[in-house]
Symmetry: C2
Subunit: 280 residues, 2 copies
């Protein structure tokens, strides 16, 4: 497989600023970076993303994939990111078919949503068939623990979302961003580079600190990931779509607690691991 050439543009993820606390004391605070990255595809301006900027090339790749602008990673010749000007230049091998058409329809998604989703993502749901991924309660607990240890920028600067990809309970990739849609797109881009056949999506579990909205569920399904874990809750449309897709959503996952909202057949319960139920 001919992979695209990617730069490895790096930039500082946090900045120190001075602040005044409740005692009137001058103090120093670490805050996350937020920078504009304008994507050009074959010299045409596509979109500007506001991002922390940890892995901009994977972000751009995942963005193009999740927006369904490009069908195969091999269609992309190179992605060149230059933080000095805040530009990601994408060069395709043969141009993007129906570019105008694909970028015409706009959906502003919920909350920490992608923002604009091109094309009719919702209509594509019926063509998605998820792999037979299952997870044990012990593996779920291992995932929650792994995340607790991992959050780095969040710990130092706060205000970022974390997303992670697991193979069962093995952590493959952890990404933080000021927007969780960026974090999930970055993971999608990374997966795409590894080759994203159903075989490789089998056993994959996606973790997000953010809410399980319609968009998060759709993007996970597009990546072929059949189990999604969140420390937060789920929205009604996220729930409906997950049920439709047979995608297992697990929310409110902190310490030993969680709620499985959909496709519980994918979660092998081991209630003894939860300790004793609290008295009602």
């Amino acid at each position: 497989m001919q992979l695209p050439l990617l730069t490895e543009a790096r930039a500082s993820l946090t900045a120190q600023v001075s602040a005044i606390n409740e005692f009137g004391e001058h103090t120093s605070a670490s805050i996350p970076a937020e920078r504009a990255l304008t994507i050009y595809v074959d010299k045409k301006e596509l979109v500007t993303l506001m991002t922390l900027g940890a892995w901009p090339e994977w972000l751009v790749l995942g963005y193009l994939r999740n927006q369904r602008l490009v069908d195969s990673v091999q269609e992309i010749e190179s992605i060149t990111v230059d933080w000095d000007v805040g530009v990601a230049a994408v060069k395709t091998r043969h141009g993007i078919a129906q570019y105008e058409e694909k970028t015409a329809k706009r959906v502003v998604t919920t909350g920490c949503g992608q923002g604009s989703m091109f094309g009719d993502l919702m209509a594509s749901i019926e063509s998605i068939h998820l792999p037979g991924t299952t997870l044990t309660q012990a593996q779920l607990y291992a995932i929650v623990s792994a995340i607790r240890l991992k959050e780095s920028t969040y710990k130092s600067a706060g205000s970022v979302h974390g997303c992670a990809l697991f193979a069962q309970d093995e952590l493959l990739l952890f990404v933080e961003d000021v927007g969780r849609h960026n974090a999930i797109d970055t993971i999608a881009g990374w997966m795409w580079l590894q080759g994203s056949s159903q075989v490789q999506a089998e056993g994959k579990v996606f973790y997000t600190t953010g809410r399980l909205t319609s968009e998060m569920v759709i993007k996970s399904a597009q990546m072929g990931v059949a189990v999604v874990v969140s420390r937060s809750g789920i929205t009604q449309m996220g729930h409906q779509l997950a049920q439709q897709l047979g995608l297992c959503t697990i929310g409110r996952a902190t310490n030993k607690r969680f709620l499985c909202y959909s496709a519980p057949e994918r979660l092998q319960m081991q209630p003894a691991l939860a300790g004793n139920p609290q008295p009602p």
Copy 2:
């Protein structure tokens, strides 16, 4: 002033779903609604917003304002929302000038960002002059307390963002949505209906449960609100813009704690109210 005619479309804000908890018990969970609202302006499709749907007419109004598609509330004749079909039909009095041009440029903002922002919002910063709003530490504490009492959908269903508008420490409007950009747009729409002169923005304080990103700072400034309070942190670009605008940003505001990141001259410190500093 001739105000637009607005429907009062209401819909259920939460839904009950069944879930399985960590003990393998079947339980019931309350989750927030998330529904698609497609905005048509003079019969032309503009955008689809995913929203909780509490005050859809104000949301549409604020969206049009914050995207700078409409300059005056009087340009809008009516907004008709019909939840059965998920449509908001906007009728303008004389059409929107330079409609194509204004909807051409797209910025996907950070995190819980607006998603797509039309026009060059960033360029408009220099024309903004904020009123001389100040806030005392006692008023700040009153705001944090008021919010703690208020959060309703969040308490029952979680997974929503809350935003509120205060006149000093008097709560004027509290809005929850699955997307905080929707919550802030709803407040902008409400303010617009009240008349949004500088006089009326004087003394206004904006509260958000979400992060102080570039977008939140810009939108507050566009509303003429010079003090913004959050329980979360601030991003680097949010910080830069706030400094540039002289907009007071106060983050990490929980109980008695907070950090003032910018324009501290707007915050009248009363450190005695914070209690005793913790030992280092």
